[in-house]
Each structure stands twice: as C-alpha cells, then as structure tokens.
C-alpha cells in the first residue's frame, strides 16, 4: 500500500469514527443525557489505546501487530482524541482547579503529540538532506573519532613543519569544537553560520602555513564539516527524542488526574441523569 493510499484510508476511517462519535454525542444531548459521561469514557478508551503504544514497544515479544501499525493508530486516534476532548470540555477552559489541571495536562499532551507528529514527518527528510544520517547513539563515538583525528593532524603538522600555526589553531578553536556537541540551538534554527565561520577561519590560515600544511588544513576542514553534521544530527535527533520527555510524563500525570476526575465525577454525579 502506498503512502498516499494508507493516508487516505486512515484519514477516512478517522473521519468516519469522528462522525459516529459526533452523532452519538448529539443523540445523547437530544435525549437529555449528560454527554460528558459519553465523551469522558470515549476519552478514557482513547487514552488507553494511545498509551498502549508505549506498552506495546515495551513488550515486543507479543504478537500485537507491528509498531508501524501501532504508530498509525496512535497518530490518527490522537487526532480523534483532540476532537473528543473538545466535545468533552466544550472548547473552553474548565472552572475548577482539578479540572483545569487535567485540562492543562491533556492540552499539553495533545500539543506535544502534534509536535511529535510534525517533527517526525519533517526532520528525517531534513537530516538526510543535510548530510550523512548518523544513529543517535553512535554520535559520541564518531565525535570522539573526529576529535582524535584532528588532534593527530595537528600533531603531525607540528612534526612536519615545525610550525605551531595549525597546532595553535587546534588548541584555541578546534579542540573545544570537537570536545562536545556545539551550536545546538543554531542548528535547530537552521543556521549554517558556525560552520561557515569555521571554514573561513581555516581558509584564512592558508596564508600563514607552509605548503605541506595546506593538505592538513583541507583534512581538518573535512572533519570540521563532519563534526558540524554530527552536531546537526545531534540537535535534531535530540529533539526527536526529547519531545517524548514531555509527552510521556504528561501522559502518566494525566492518567493519574483523570482517574481522580472519573471517580469524583461518578461519586458526585447523582444529580445528573
């Protein structure tokens, strides 16, 4: 199934489900039922399925469909959950403290979810377009490798030319640059200024170094570019992983508050029909 066909199918199913839910809520409203109970339980069910995706990833041995299918369900059910949430709360902030806390948690959860979907759709392509895609966990090792290589090149330059120009530049600029990830926010903002600045600096050294060191500078520049790509990969992949630091804790917190909310709703709902 093509991506477009899959998207069409999933979108159609989601819209049909949304229409059914809307119809059910409307009919309950017409029948003088308290629709918040219907929408509330639908929300609870949706949350269970959405949270089930995380559980599914922790239980890879169970034959419960593949993760990709779960992700599709997670994404489209997430869209439906937004609509359900609006039906439940009436597109307004609740008045009570507890309900407001839950509202903020769920809204944050939904917003982070939307953010996650957005960056999951956008970032991979950008990473590929920017340069070599590196597995996130391997980035430190490659950074260490590049740092080591640049250190070797600086040492070699001193040994070959008895000039300290490259070594001095290494000490002042290259060593800190390769020591750890750099320019995190500038990469997220899409800025290439740090990289260009480093390249200009390396090029500006050409007039001060011996001819033998020209090759060394070229090799250093190649590693600077590779390190810059590592930083880029690190920044965006950190974001890809980092949004879950909000999304998942918010899920747990929202579940706790939602349980209290449901208990209170039923305990004090005897005035309703």
């Amino acid at each position: 199934m093509t991506f477009a066909a899959r998207r069409l199918r999933n979108t159609s199913i989601a819209l049909a489900a949304l229409a059914l839910m809307g119809l059910a809520v409307w009919l309950h409203h017409l029948a003088l039922r308290d629709t918040s109970f219907l929408t509330g339980w639908l929300l609870v069910a949706a949350f269970i399925v959405l949270a089930g995706y995380n559980m599914r990833k922790k239980l890879p041995f169970l034959p419960l469909a593949d993760s990709a299918s779960w992700l599709q369900v997670h994404v489209y059910l997430g869209y439906l959950t937004i609509a359900l949430f609006l039906m439940h709360t009436g597109v307004k902030m609740p008045n009570g403290v507890l309900e407001s806390v839950l509202w903020v948690l769920v809204v944050a959860l939904l917003v982070t979810g939307l953010f996650g979907i957005a960056i999951s759709r956008l970032i991979p392509g950008a990473l590929t377009q920017h340069g070599e895609r590196i597995i996130y966990e391997r980035i430190p090792a490659f950074r260490a490798q590049l740092a080591s290589e640049v250190a070797d090149l600086a040492t070699k330059s001193v040994e070959q030319t008895a000039s300290g120009t490259v070594a001095s530049y290494y000490t002042q600029r290259l060593q800190p640059f390769f020591a750890r990830p750099r320019n995190f926010w500038l990469h997220l903002l899409g800025s290439s200024r740090p990289r260009q600045a480093m390249c200009r600096e390396i090029r500006s050294l050409e007039r001060y170094v011996a001819k033998e060191d020209q090759q060394t500078l070229d090799e250093i520049e190649a590693r600077v570019l590779a390190k810059d790509n590592l930083d880029y990969q690190h920044a965006w992949q950190s974001l890809l992983k980092g949004w879950l630091f909000l999304h998942i804790p918010l899920t747990y917190a929202a579940i706790v508050v939602a349980v209290v909310h449901v208990v209170l709703a039923y305990a004090f709902a005897s005035a309703t029909s």
Partner: protein, 838 residues
C-alpha cells in the same frame, strides 16, 4: 569535502542496545566499553576481552569491531592485559524518559493526595464556580450528600453507580426549591395531566414532521420517561459553569427529546393551537358580544366603555391582560343587583331563624319546648342547620326534622315530637349562647357542620359583625323567657309550652292594657297600626305575634285575623304589613290608600295613618308613627300625645338597604353591603370547599342565579377534582404563582399590533358562540368563548427564527403547577441562640 563516518560492517560497527537502561559512563566521550554496565547500572569493565583458553595458552578474543586481537595477548593467569578503567554508568535516554514519567506520575499522585485530603479539598475538587444564585452555598455537602464522607467513600459511591433522581442529589435541590409532589416527573406534572396533554396533542396532529435526529435518538436511546428513574434537576440545570452561566438554557431538541410528537419548528409541524387561549372558561361571566352590541348602547354614554383599554390593562409584569376593578367597570350598572335593591323578593339572607312549629299540636303532645312563637312560619334554613351542628341537635333528630312538616304535627309520631323538641331547644340554646358568648359560640358548630376547622377570622367574616343588640332584640321578641327556660332545660327539668301562650301573656302583661297602654319595646302601639314590630292590639297586649287577636299586630301570616296585620296576609279587614294591599285598615310599606293604614313609608293619604303625613288622626307629619290620636305609647296622656314626637319606625329591610343585619319578624337577616361582601364570599368559599348536606344546602342557596348578592351571576363556579366547588372571585394574575405549559406576555406584543387592528389582530369576536351556555354547568372545561381562537399563523408571522425567534422556551415553561419557591429552613431556636450569643 564530505567525510562519511558511519559504516554498518559488523566488523567495524559496534552493536548498539538503546533499550538498555544503563549505558557506559564513557559513552558521552565516544569511548564506551564493549561490555557496558549490567541491568542494575553497575560497571562491568574488566578487560577489553575475556581471553579464551586454547590448550595451555590464552587467546585474545577482542572482536574486529574493537580492533581485533591485541598484540600483547592475555596475561599468564588468563586475564586481559588491557584493563578498562571502571566508569560510573549512566541511564540511557529511554531510561531517563521512563524516570521522568515515573516522577511525573509521582508528582501527580502527590498533588492529587493534597487535593483530596488537604484542608482546601472543596476548593480543589470543585468543578467550577456556582452561578450567582447559588454563590452563597459554601459547603459541597449541601448539594452532594456523599461529600461528607472520606475519599474512600467517594470511590465507593462512584462504583455504586448513579442513583435515579428520586434517590440522588436532586433531592437536595428540594430542600430549598419547593417543587410539589411530582418534582422528578416530567414537567413536575402528575401522570394524568401529562397523559391527557399527550393524548390531546397526538389527536390534534395530522402530519408529524419528525426531525431525523430526534427520530434516531428515540430509536437508539431510551427516552427519559421510559427509564422510570425520574428526571434529575441537573439534566437541564447544569451548575459549576461559573457565575454568569445560564441554568435554564435548553435547546429545542432537548425539549422534544421526551415528547412523543417531535417536529421541526413552530411553523413546521407544531401542533395546532386548538382553542388557544380560550381553553378554559373565564372566571367572570362577561359576554363581550352581548354587552357591546346590546347593553352598552342602552346605557348612558358616559358609562359605556369605548375602547378595550377602558376596561383592560396588563398587570405589573406586563404579561396577563387584567380587567379593571368592579368599581371601575361594572359598578355603574350592577351595584343595585349586588345590594338587591331591585330584587323582587327580600334581599336579606335569613341567617338565624325561628322555625315555625305547630305549637298547638306540640302542646297537645305535651312537648316540652317552653314558649314558642306560634306565628312563625320560617323554615329551618340551611344556615340554621349549619349553626345547629356540633351537638346542638343530634344528626338523627335533624334528619328526622327535615322529613317533617313542622307546621303540621297533628300526625307526628313520638319520635317526631322528640326531634322537634331537640330542634326547638337547639334554636333556643343557639340564641342563648349567641347572647352569652357572642358569635364565637357558633364557631364550633360551623366547623362541625363543614367537617373542618374554621379559623376565627373566617368565622368572624361568616357572622359579619352580628351586633349584640340585634340578637337581644330578637330574643326579646322570640323568646322573652329564654333565660329561665334554658336554665330549667339544662337542669333537666321539663319546660312545658304555656297554655294559650299569647292569651296568657296578654293577661299577664297587657290584658288590661288600654289602647295606649300596650307598649312594647319595639312596637309603636298604635291602636290600628299594623307595623311589623308593633304590638299595640286593642285587646291583645302581646308583643308582635298576636295571632288570633282582634286587633293583633302580628307579623306574617296571621291570616284570618279580624284586624290582623301580617306580612303576607291578604284580605284582612285591618291587616297591615308589607305586601298587603287593599286592606281596609291595612297599613305598611307599599300599602297605599288604606283607610286606617298605620304603615310605614310610602303610605300616604291614610285616614288614620300613623306614618306618613296627611292622616287625619296622624300625630306626625312625616312617615313616623306615634302620637296619633288613637295611637299611643305607654302612659301617654292626650295632651302629652299631642306634643310628643315619636321616633320613626322604618322598615328594617329598607333601613338596611346599605347592608348589614336586621330583624325581620322571626329571622335575623343579612343584607349584602356591596360588591365583594365578606359574608357572602366567605360562606360561599367555606361551604363550597366543604362537603355534606348542610354545606351543600347553604352553597346552593347562595349560588343560585339571582340569589342574594347575585354573586354567581358573574362569578363562575368550578367543580374541583375533589368534588368541591370554588367560586372564581379573582382573575388570574402573574403573581398567583401558577405556571402553565404556555407563557405569553401581552406587553411585548402590544407595540407590534398597535398600528394594525389593535387587539382584534389576535382577539376577533365570535358572535355565533353560545357563550352563556358555558356557564350552565360547573366544569371549567365547558367553554364557548365569544372570541375566535388564535391560530398558529397569527404567531408565525413574526415568530420565525430570523425575526422574533421560535425557540420552545420562548413560549413554554417546563415546570408547571405552583410556582417554585425557595424556602429557608431556619429554626427559631437557632435564631434565639444567635441573639444570645450576640
């Protein structure tokens, strides 16, 4: 120049395990050890490989991805020669995320615990502010019974499910809001009323345009009335939405959710109005068509209204169209009807009477009733039957008495005589008690006869300020020896009827009286006078009832007396009294042209008349008796008679023409004082609300068309569900507290019709309607209005969604019946405590 770093060759690529909880502490430096920490986060670093024994030698096992076997090889003891410095393992990204999630959950649990168990739990847990109406309710338990329990109780309550409205928190609403017996039934109406309404609407609807949503809702979900759980208040009134939220906002669809007939809008599918708004008989019998076409043109132009507003105006709420007061509208023509000025018969109501008895037969039967006025022919009126209740007369005696003709007891059985005796003593004791204890003495009798307690103020209105002197005067006339007789009777002694009562009295008191000596308290003692209260017989010196005496001045029906002056006597030679005519010497009201008429006013030109001027022997000019040549008060000499001027002796009935009590022979009568007379209104209300023969008799006597006061000529009588009768004294008012299904306010509509046909835009006459037939029975549902019903078209010309709106609640109320009241449950002793504390 791009440098590619990543290789997926297994010999060059380290196997990554991102799912592991712990990673090497040197991971961030890019130089993690190959083994990594264990699952509990402990560093396992020892050597770069775990040498393998190969015979007697140890071989390096470092993989290719880590550089392959080292040059040095393992140590002789089999350990790796390249020991890795130990590190402090760190959590993986995934583990950190899991930790954050657990922390978030823990914080949430902590916050929830604070919310549930903290001192401000109510503030934390409240789902929102209350509306301004309920803002003062500070305690959640006021509305939510379970709130006083612990959170564990709340969990239990949550799992117990939602109880129905009859058992749930909706009951708490009723502690303040009085909603009647059917608070949780649809509309708060009883089942019968709803069924009738449903049946009527279903019968009236030909084409039911049922919206699809309501169709689906009806099929998919049980309708609330099918649940049998009652309708909870919060079904419609949603609280905790903030101070400005509306508690009564309802959609049209919700209104129709329970209705068997569902339709799109007022202009599409709404049931026809039928006879709206004339579905109930008007409280006042006022035939608009007849008045406007016939009566008004016959009256003085100044009295006839010219516009609707001359009689009608909206009430203070601008809702109901009210009629101006009787005094402003009807009094000009109908005051005389109320006071009975133009009545053919006596306008006075015989409230207290001395029933006429066959005294001769009673005497022969040795009945012990003491002296009894033999000339009384009064019946035992319904009022008297009421006043003789409560043990004055036993019911069996009263029942037997009703079967008798008390004026003819010749064939009476002993039991009949016993019943007559009981009634006679009942009457005497009634008069005695009335004198000794006042009208309050009658309150128990009234209560007993009506079968319910009659309040003091009601009893006071029922006796309308009966004056002591009137009763005393009556007693003196009726039962002059009452005190002695009652005393003897109560002592258990028999009190025989005096033989030849009036003859004896004459012998005792006036037998030797001359013409001028037979003075009596109320008589004018004219020798030939025939006035009602006068005695003054020529030979009979009795009081008023000198039956059979030659010149007796008897009261009614002293027929056959030679000179008897009686009420309805006719053909008496000297008879004189009201209504008599053509008597030779008759003299009384209305008599005219009598030769010796000694009557009262209107008698003129009598030869010896003692009333009006012009009589030859009259001692007075204007219609006052006394001082006549042959008439005489006690002890008056001829000279004195010539100079004395006696007090007038008016006809009591005429004298009381402005209303009040008066004595008329053997009855104390009450004449209505005017419109809204409290005596009549109270008797009608009290006896209408009571059941029983005595109450019915009084009510029917007063409620008869043309009866005293003519109350029911205009005020219709409704039979209630309980079988009692209610007179419609007042017109419906907005403040009456009655809520109906349909609500209409005149004021907002007046401007819209002012420029067209005015009131006739909606209220067009129906001259062919038999309006008067509506009042032939006592069912409020029997009604033929002399206005044409208002059709839906009249309303839908404006009431569409785009103009004046057509929401259900614009014209309909949900709660019907008595007005919802908010009641404060405040104990007086609590208030006392507060006062003390202060």
């Amino acid at each position: 120049m791009i440098r590619f770093l990543q290789s997926f060759d297994f010999r060059k690529s380290r196997y990554a395990r991102p799912n592991q909880t712990w990673v090497c502490g040197r991971e961030a430096e890019g130089a993690p050890c190959r083994l990594g920490p264990d699952s509990r986060g402990r560093c396992r670093a020892a050597g770069e490989c775990m040498p393998r024994r190969d015979g007697d030698a140890w071989c390096c096992t470092r993989p290719q991805s880590a550089g392959g076997p080292c040059v040095e090889g393992p140590r002789p003891d089999g350990t790796c020669c390249r020991q890795i410095p130990r590190c402090q393992p760190v959590r993986s990204v995934r583990a950190k995320r899991g930790l954050a999630a657990r922390w978030a959950a823990a914080v949430a649990v902590g916050v929830m615990a604070l919310a549930l168990y903290g001192s401000d739990a109510a503030d934390w847990l409240s789902p929102g502010g209350l509306t301004a109406h309920h803002a003062e309710i500070g305690d959640c338990a006021t509305c939510h019974e379970d709130f006083d329990g612990s959170p564990a109780d709340w969990v239990r309550a949550a799992f117990n499910g939602v109880p129905d409205a009859h058992q749930g928190d909706s009951r708490q609403c009723l502690t303040c809001h009085e909603m009647g017996d059917n608070a949780f039934d649809p509309h708060g109406a009883d089942e019968q009323r709803l069924a009738q309404s449903t049946e009527a609407q279903q019968a009236s609807l030909a084409a039911n345009v049922r919206p699809i949503g309501l169709n689906l809702a009806g099929r998919a979900l049980r309708e609330p009335d099918e649940l049998g759980e009652g309708t909870a208040c919060a079904s419609c009134h949603s609280e905790h939405q903030g101070a400005d939220a509306s508690l009564t906002e309802m959609s049209d669809g919700q209104c129709q959710s329970c209705h068997t007939l569902k339709f799109a809008s007022l202009s599409s599918g709404h049931p026809p109005f039928q006879s709206y708004p004339y579905d109930r008989r008007t409280g006042i019998n006022f035939d608009h068509v007849r008045h406007i076409r016939k009566h008004f043109p016959e009256t003085d132009g100044a009295e006839a209204p010219e516009q609707c507003v001359d009689c009608h105006a909206t009430d203070s709420a601008g809702a109901l169209m009210q009629t101006a007061s009787f005094e402003e509208t009807c009094a000009a023509c109908h005051t005389a009807d109320v006071r009975g000025t133009n009545a053919a018969g006596s306008p006075g109501i015989p409230a207290i009477t001395v029933p006429g008895l066959d005294v001769m037969s009673l005497r022969e039967a040795d009945a012990a009733i003491g002296a009894w006025p033999e000339l009384s022919d009064q019946p035992l009126t319904p009022f008297m039957q009421v006043l003789l209740a409560n043990g004055r007369v036993e019911q069996e005696h009263m029942a037997r008495f009703r079967q008798l003709d008390p004026l003819d007891l010749r064939d009476a059985e002993p039991a009949d005589i016993e019943a007559v005796e009981a009634v006679a003593w009942g009457v005497k004791e009634l008069v005695y008690d009335l004198i000794s204890d006042g009208p309050a003495a009658l309150q128990p009798s009234i209560s007993a006869a009506l079968g319910r307690e009659v309040a003091s103020d009601t009893a006071a209105r029922m006796l309308a300020g009966l004056p002591l002197e009137t009763v005393r005067g009556a007693q003196a006339e009726w039962f002059p020896d009452l005190a002695r007789e009652v005393a003897m009777h109560r002592a258990g002694k028999e009190v025989a009827i005096p033989a030849g009562e009036f003859a004896a009295v004459s012998e005792d008191d006036g037998g030797s009286d001359t013409e001028g000596e037979a003075a009596e308290d109320a008589g004018q003692a004219d020798i030939l006078s025939g006035d009602d209260d006068s005695g003054g017989d020529l030979s009979g010196g009795g009081e008023e009832s000198g039956g059979g005496d030659i010149l007796s001045g008897a009261e009614e029906e002293a027929g056959g007396d030679l000179l008897g002056g009686s009420g309805d006597s006719g053909d008496d030679i000297l008879g004189g009294d009201g209504g008599s005519g053509d008597d030779i010497l008759g003299g009384d009201a209305d008599s005219g042209g009598d030769i010796l008429g000694g009557g009262e006013e209107d008698a003129g030109g009598d030869l010896l008349g003692g009333d009006s001027g012009g009589g030859i022997l009259s001692g007075e000019e204007e219609g006052d008796t006394g001082g006549d040549l042959l008439g005489g008060d006690a002890g008056g000499s001829e000279d004195e008679a010539k100079v004395e001027v006696a007090l007038p002796a008016p006809d009591p009935e005429r004298w009381s023409r402005l209303g009040g009590w008066y004595r008329d022979y053997f009855a104390l009568r009450y004449r209505p004082r005017g419109h809204a007379d409290p005596f009549l209104a109270t008797w009608l209300d009290v006896t209408g609300a009571a059941q029983g023969p005595a109450a019915d008799a009084v009510f029917e006597g007063l409620a008869v068309d043309g009866g005293p006061g003519k109350c029911v000529k205009c005020h219709s009588v409704d039979e209630t569900k309980g079988g009692t009768l209610a007179v419609n004294w007042t017109q419906p008012r907005s403040s009456s507290g009655e809520h109906n299904f349909t609500r209409f306010a005149h004021d907002p509509h007046i401007t819209s019709v002012a420029t067209e046909d005015g009131c006739a835009t909606c209220h067009a006459f129906a001259p062919e309607a038999d309006y008067q037939a509506s009042f032939d029975d006592r069912s409020a549902a029997t009604f033929a209005s002399n206005f044409q019903p208002i059709g839906e078209d009249t309303c839908t010309s404006c009431h569409v969604e785009s103009k004046a709106g057509n929401a259900c609640t614009q014209c309909h109320d949900y709660h019907v019946g008595e007005a919802m009241r908010v009641e404060a449950d405040t104990r007086l002793d609590d208030m006392t405590m507060s006062a003390k504390e202060e």
